[in-house]
Amino acid sequence: MDQAHARVVAVLSTFVSRLNAEGALGAALRRRGLTPAEMRFEHVPQILPDLQRAVTLFGSVNASRLRDELLSLGREPVPEKPAVRRIDIRSEDDVVVARQQTRELCEALGAGSFATQRVATVVAELARNIVAYTPGGTLELESKPKDRRVVCIRARDRGRGIPNLDEIMSGRYRSATGLGLGLLGTKRLAESFSIKTGPTGTQVDVQVRT
């Protein structure tokens, strides 16, 4: 039996007996040439007058409440798709905010303390690079839609790009400030890692399993 049919019967049953509820709905559907299996929530407004008439025959019914309850069926808010957390990164304080957001997200995903540490460290590295080397950027955090245990992190900045990226990622480069260590370390903590860099900015996409 279709969910719409069952839900409407359930609402009607709060006003009249279940037997009468099924009878009233069945009659209303037949008049529209519908079977219970074909019924969908969008048919409710069409059959509503028939239902109201039928149900009031069986007892004293608050017709407007009946209408409101039937019309609200199938209109429950759709579960929100997991929000992307977006954090502007300009100063060291933003790095702290980014780490806190990361810990919250990991906690919501039920991640353990070691995994949480990995994700938070990746976020800290990427955010610190933005603060140290660029005029600013953003970090986006979300859990992977198809695999909730994976955290996707995207760091974008408006810097001038990383000219010696290959050298850095090969591990041959050690900067005075630690950029090489941070990016290479991030890659080692990640399940997947990609970086695009150019004269208008850098984008790093990292996935870390929790």
Binding site: E92, T121, R128, G182, R188
Partner: protein, 122 residues
Amino acid sequence: MTRAGPIPILRVADVLLTTIHVDLQDTIAAAFQEDVLLEIEATGAKGIVIDISGLEEVDTHVARILAETGSMARLTGARAVLVGMRPEVAATLVRMGYAMGAIETSLDVEEGFRLLGAWPKG
């Protein structure tokens, strides 16, 4: 002595003890390193125990500050011992391929003091 940074450094017998409980942002980090060196010079301490049990995260930036501080202390004739690193932090740093360099490490403050020979016997 006037100190530049917000991280207190205590003298206990002939060693120093400091507990880092705030994020080592650039300005704080620089002030902390200066304070450590000035305090070593002023007290003639033979070592310093740096407790990081209060730090939730140690990324490569913070790790580098700590390792540097150890190297600086060593140049002034004092041993620096890093203590209280949380297991999660240790695992993450190693996975990142980060070595702490010259700084010695110990489990906790008590062990750090022992390492420096500054824990009272019996």
